[in-house]
């Protein structure tokens, strides 16, 4: 019974994908959209069933289909593991996925290969599910690279435009660099523990019999590189902002809610390994903090609405990694959930704005949309408040928990985190004021068509906004349902409930004040003085550096891409030519010798007889003259 259900859970999106790819054209737009959404809803329903089941029985379900690859040291079989963590993750993946599918039915309505879009979205959901419920590291790796493939397809969905394709290629290659790290991690785990099945791995590591300090640290580093690649942390984050080239639902689903959280899922899944590598945990924390600060600073001056949200995602992910670094896995998961809600809502909101302004993404050409698009405005306002961490909303609870643990762990990181939160508040409300307040800066023709997006777009917005506000309740500092739910997943960790001591209140106060300051400054700058950032060229000094993203792309290009191309040219023109000339050389030498030899054959009989006699002398003297 469970196997069939699990199969339904994973195969529904795949079935949707196949249906749309092959018969998409005949089905027509709405029908293919409907099928796409329906399959995700089916998965959501099955997840719900399993979720309710597991809350009572507290019993993880392990399904084994067939054994897949034969390796001498460990057995790799094709199977699924539905435990607390994966079901929790599935809940918001399929949930938000369904909403976004619904949203994109109308958003992508005027695109001629809309059936392809839904096919790729379904494929993405299929791979995401396999990533989450894979019973061993390799099945997770299938999902891991599968989602990378789908993000490549979806970013480059409008394939006629070459720089979209470049962005897609860059995303895929950057992910692949991370995947190499993950692969090496899998090798180490398989080599040391002789198994890569999560359940067995957990028991072996917790038993602590086969632990080898050095190998675990290297495994942790490798796995973190994989996570950094997928969840866009410092070294490998430049692909996420470029990934905004794809349609907005893609950015919402993949680059906000689901795929980028895969890194955190993996680290949480293998928490027992990271606990044994304290050094690596500190490194994760530091990198997380720095990423969040850097991304926040860049987001301050961005003019493209989706770029701002992209950098905000990178910054929030930084915070989550800060929490993971501190060992507070439940808090990181809590922030993942809340972040999924309000970031998806923000992205969808920005999508509906862009849709209304006929694909205009530059905030400098927006403004005053408050009256024209009330629902979008309210939902985005709620989400912005949530992300800035204002009191009742979800963001406040999850972000403060992270800052609290940061404060207890390492105060410096707490300072960086708070600074990042203040900047978050500032740029979020900068975005709000620029798009929704003061007067409309777009063209007349756009002004005429300004209208609120249809119901299919606004409904998901409303649901997500509600979730963003209510989301915080699942893990209040006092009694956190989430920690309680996840307790069986962390058998060896005693369940720490945050005592609401005196310092906690002060920290909360500081965080709220910081957020209000950020909003105030934004209000003063963009609302009161009605400032609008100038054209690209007018940026000077620090803002120019920030606007150009610290020139990180150019640096990467100079360090990696240019040298490889130069090396390739060098190989192609010199080494290849040289090597083949060397090989041809033998032939030429023989030819040259032969050419000279022909001169020896003079044709005169005297010469031949002369050589005859010389040969005769040589042989006789060699044989008979003993000197």
């Amino acid at each position: 019974m469970d196997t069939t259900l699990a199969l339904v859970l994973i195969l529904a999106p795949l079935f949707g994908f196949l249906l749309n790819i092959f018969f998409g054209k005949q089905l027509g737009k709405t029908l293919s959209g409907a099928i796409g959404t329906f399959t995700v809803i089916v998965s959501f329903a099955v997840t719900l069933y399993f979720f309710l089941n597991i809350t009572e029985t507290n019993q993880a379900i392990q399904v084994k289909l067939f054994d897949w690859i034969a390796i001498s040291d460990f057995k790799v079989d094709f199977g699924f593991l539905l435990d607390h963590l994966s079901l929790l993750w599935l809940m918001f993946v399929t949930g938000i996925g369904a909403l976004i599918h619904l949203y994109s039915i109308s958003y992508m309505h005027d695109d001629e290969n809309m059936h392809k879009f839904f096919a790729y979205l379904n494929l993405f959901v299929f791979f995401m599910i396999s990533l989450v419920i894979g019973s061993n590291l390799l099945i997770m790796f299938i999902g891991w690279e599968g989602v990378g493939l789908c993000s490549y397809l979806l970013i480059g969905f409008w394939y006629k435009n070459q720089d979209f394709n470049d962005a897609a290629k860059k995303a895929f290659i950057m992910n692949r660099i991370g995947d190499l790290g993950l692969l090496v991690g899998i090798f180490i785990v398989g080599f040391v523990f002789k198994t890569i099945d999560f359940a067995e791995l957990k028991t072996i590591v917790l038993a602590g019999t086969m632990n080898n300090e050095m190998w675990i640290t290297i495994a942790a580093i490798a796995l973190f590189i994989g996570a950094a690649g997928k969840s866009a942390q410092i070294p490998l984050y430049t692909w996420l902002p470029d990934a905004m080239a794809g349609p907005t639902p893609v950015s919402a689903l993949i680059h906000a809610a689901t795929m980028v959280t895969a890194g955190i899922f993996m680290i949480t899944r293998l928490y027992f390994l990271f606990d044994l590598a304290p050094l690596v945990q500190d490194a994760i924390a530091i990198i997380g903090a720095i990423t969040s600060l850097v991304a926040a600073t860049i987001a301050l001056v961005q003019t493209d609405i989706k770029k701002v949200l992209a950098y905000s995602t990178v910054s929030q992910l930084g915070l989550m990694f800060l929490a993971l670094g501190m060992g507070a896995y439940e808090i990181a998961v809590f922030h993942v959930i809340t972040h999924a809600f309000f970031k998806a809502c923000l992205f969808l909101g920005s999508g509906s704005v862009i849709h209304a302004l006929h694909n205009e993404q530059d905030m400098r050409k927006m403004g005053g949309l408050r009256k024209a698009m009330p629902i979008t405005f309210i939902t985005m306002l709620l989400s912005s408040l949530a992300i800035s961490g204002i009191f009742p909303l979800a963001g406040f609870w999850s972000k403060d928990e992270i800052l609290m643990t940061a404060f207890h762990g390492n105060p410096v990181l707490w300072v960086i985190g708070s600074l990042a939160s203040i900047f978050t508040a500032f740029y979020m409300f900068r975005l709000m004021f620029l798009t929704f307040f003061n007067d409309f800066r777009g063209t007349e023709e756009q002004k005429k068509h300004l209208h609120e997006s249809p119901a299919l777009i606004t409904f998901p917005l409303i649901v997500l906004a509600i979730l963003a506000t209510v989301g915080g309740l699942i893990s209040l500092p006092g009694n956190s349902w989430l920690n309680h739910y996840l307790a069986p997943f962390f058998p060896n960790k005693e369940h720490i409930a945050h005592a609401l001591g005196q310092t906690e209140y002060i920290l909360m106060a500081i965080a709220t004040v910081g957020a209000l300051v950020g909003i105030g400054v934004a209000y003063a700058k963009y609302m009161k003085q009605n400032q609008v950032p100038g054209a690209d060229a007018t940026f000077t000094g620090i803002s120019k550096v920030l606007y150009n993203k610290y020139y990180v792309d150019e640096i990467y290009d100079a360090i990696f891409v240019k040298p490889i191309n130069a090396l390739s040219n060098f190989f192609r023109d010199f080494v290849e030519v040289g090597l083949s000339a060397f090989v041809f050389g033998f032939g030429k030498v023989a030819n040259e010798l032969s050419f000279q030899g022909k001169k020896l054959q003079t044709g005169s009989i005297g010469f031949y007889l002369f050589i005859f006699v010389i040969g005769f002398c040589a042989i006789i003297s060699y044989l008979f003259i003993e000197l």
Binding site: I21, D73, G146, F187, G190, F191
Partner: protein
């Protein structure tokens, strides 16, 4: 009932196609290709049922040379590759009209016969004869039906022939030396012949030179790009799909068991060479203008990794190498066929002149995309299984080998996606590009089918090859 039935079918097929005249030649060839595939499967079923299919027949008495064939798991895997690919390759050539087709198809079947013989032969000299025989047809195919200007092609083809032959002649000297020591060319006799360390080194190097040219490994690969570009697509498919595997198969079957001490002693050098090939091939493939040359260097990279796997001397290395050989065989044939389809319509092989094919031929573009992603070994494709196992084997030797070897998935992604983008995406090309015909589609779909099926369920293959690889491994560590 023994394994020589397959060889007979292929030989009779070659002769029949030759006599069938130009019109019917391609159909007769396809028929015999499929018959040989059927016969391989039938023999495989017999083999699995435990029947011994070996054949030993005395042939020459003075130096004792016997016509002996041995079919074990490893050989059957290769026969499967040969059996499946030959009809696919023949089917793929239906699109373009071939002048004096009867010779063309007869040579293809004859080459398939010779390669099957190489996989089966268990007598050193018989193996060497089949090894040389396989060289002659590809020489004529590339010479007579090749493209590009005649002078340039001639130079490339002759260089290829002499280069490969030079390598194999040194192998012949090694075989004769072994014969003078062991008294017979039989595989078993050569296996349990205990040679001194430096004798083994010399023999290892003699074999290595022959196989390094054939595989090809780094410094010996200069012939590959030119011949792949100049040869007709069918020739390139035969070369890259099956012929490279003769070299790799022989490393496992002949070179390592006969000279294990040398293999163990210089293992790091040879693995290093293989991995250098991977990185070198990928980087050169980056800036290639001609699609066939790009695919040639990409197969140089893949094959470098396989060779590194074989020289890792552990069960995973062997198993991964054999799986990767088969996977690479299918993928590379598919990719070259895609290049041929593009050539048939746009009449160009230069990547910059292509573009925007996806808008005009979505079906072809998606099939080509699946092949592109299979070649960079996306998980759940057949290549991933092979590559994962090979990289794990390299990891067991040394972590850094695995990491350097792993670079292939990054560099591979880089140039393959670059190829896909410049040829398929972007603005529509001026020339019309009508979508895939039935026969072309059949070929592509069958290749993709094989890749996907073995991607998800490689168990039958691994069970087929594991016992024979274990015996070879026992032989190596004796």
């Amino acid at each position: 009932m023994d394994i020589s039935l397959l060889l007979i079918i292929l030989l009779v097929g070659a002769i029949a196609t030759f006599l069938a005249g130009d019109k019917m030649a391609s159909k007769v060839a396809l028929f015999f290709g499929l018959v040989s595939l059927g016969c391989t499967l039938y023999l495989l079923s017999l083999f699995n049922a435990g029947q011994n299919l070996d054949l030993t027949m005395a042939w020459i008495t003075k130096p004792v040379i016997s016509f002996s064939l041995k079919a074990d798991g490893l050989a059957f895997a290769m026969l499967l590759l040969n059996g499946i690919l030959t009809p696919i390759i023949i089917l793929s050539s239906f699109g373009n009209e071939v002048k004096n087709a009867k010779n063309f198809y007869a040579l293809i079947l004859f080459m398939s016969f010779a390669m099957a013989g190489t996989f089966l032969a268990s007598d050193g000299l018989l193996y060497y004869i089949f090894w040389e025989l396989a060289l002659i047809p590809i020489y004529f195919i590339a010479l007579i039906w090749g493209n590009g200007d005649a002078e340039e092609r001639k130079k490339a083809v002759v260089k290829f022939f002499i280069y490969t032959l030079a390598g194999s002649l040194f192998m012949l000297t090694a075989f004769i030396y072994l014969y003078s020591k062991a008294g017979s060319f039989q595989l078993e006799a050569l296996y349990n012949l205990d040679l001194s360390a430096d004798e083994q080194l010399w023999i290892f190097l003699a074999f290595f030179f022959a196989y390094a040219v054939k595989i090809p490994l780094i410094p010996f690969h200069t012939w590959q790009a030119n011949v792949y570009q100049k040869a007709p697509t069918v020739g390139t498919m035969l070369l890259s799909g099956i012929m490279l595997k003769m070299g790799l198969y022989s490393v496992i079957r002949w070179q390592l068991p006969i000279a294990p001490m040398a293999a163990k002693e210089y293992m790091n050098i040879f693995i290093g060479l293989g991995i250098a090939g991977v990185i070198y091939g990928s980087i050169v493939a980056l800036r290639q203008r001609d699609i066939k040359k790009l695919l040639a260097y990409s197969s140089l990279a893949h094959v470098g990794l396989i060779a590194a796997g074989t020289y890792a001397l552990n069960l995973d290395g062997f198993r991964g190498a054999v799986l990767q050989m088969m996977a690479h065989g299918f993928v590379v044939v598919g990719l070259f066929f895609a290049a041929e389809i593009i050539y048939r319509r746009l009449d160009t092989r230069i990547i910059s002149e292509m573009g925007g094919i996806r808008t005009q031929a979505p079906a072809f573009a998606s099939m080509f995309m699946i092949l592109v992603f299979a070649s960079i070994s996306l998980p759940s494709t057949f290549n991933f299984i092979g590559e994962f196992t090979v990289l794990y084997a390299l990891f067991q030797v040394d972590m850094w080998f695995a990491i350097l070897g792993g670079l292939t998935i990054i560099l591979g992604a880089y140039y393959m996606l670059k190829l896909y983008q410049h040829s398929m995406l972007g603005e529509t090309n001026t020339k019309i590009f009508k979508d895939v015909t039935f026969s072309e589609g059949l070929v592509m779909v069958s290749i993709i089918g094989v890749i996907m099926f073995f991607g998800f369920y490689p168990k039958p293959l691994t069970d087929l090859i594991t016992p024979s690889l274990e015996t070879i491994l026992l032989q190596i560590n004796r």
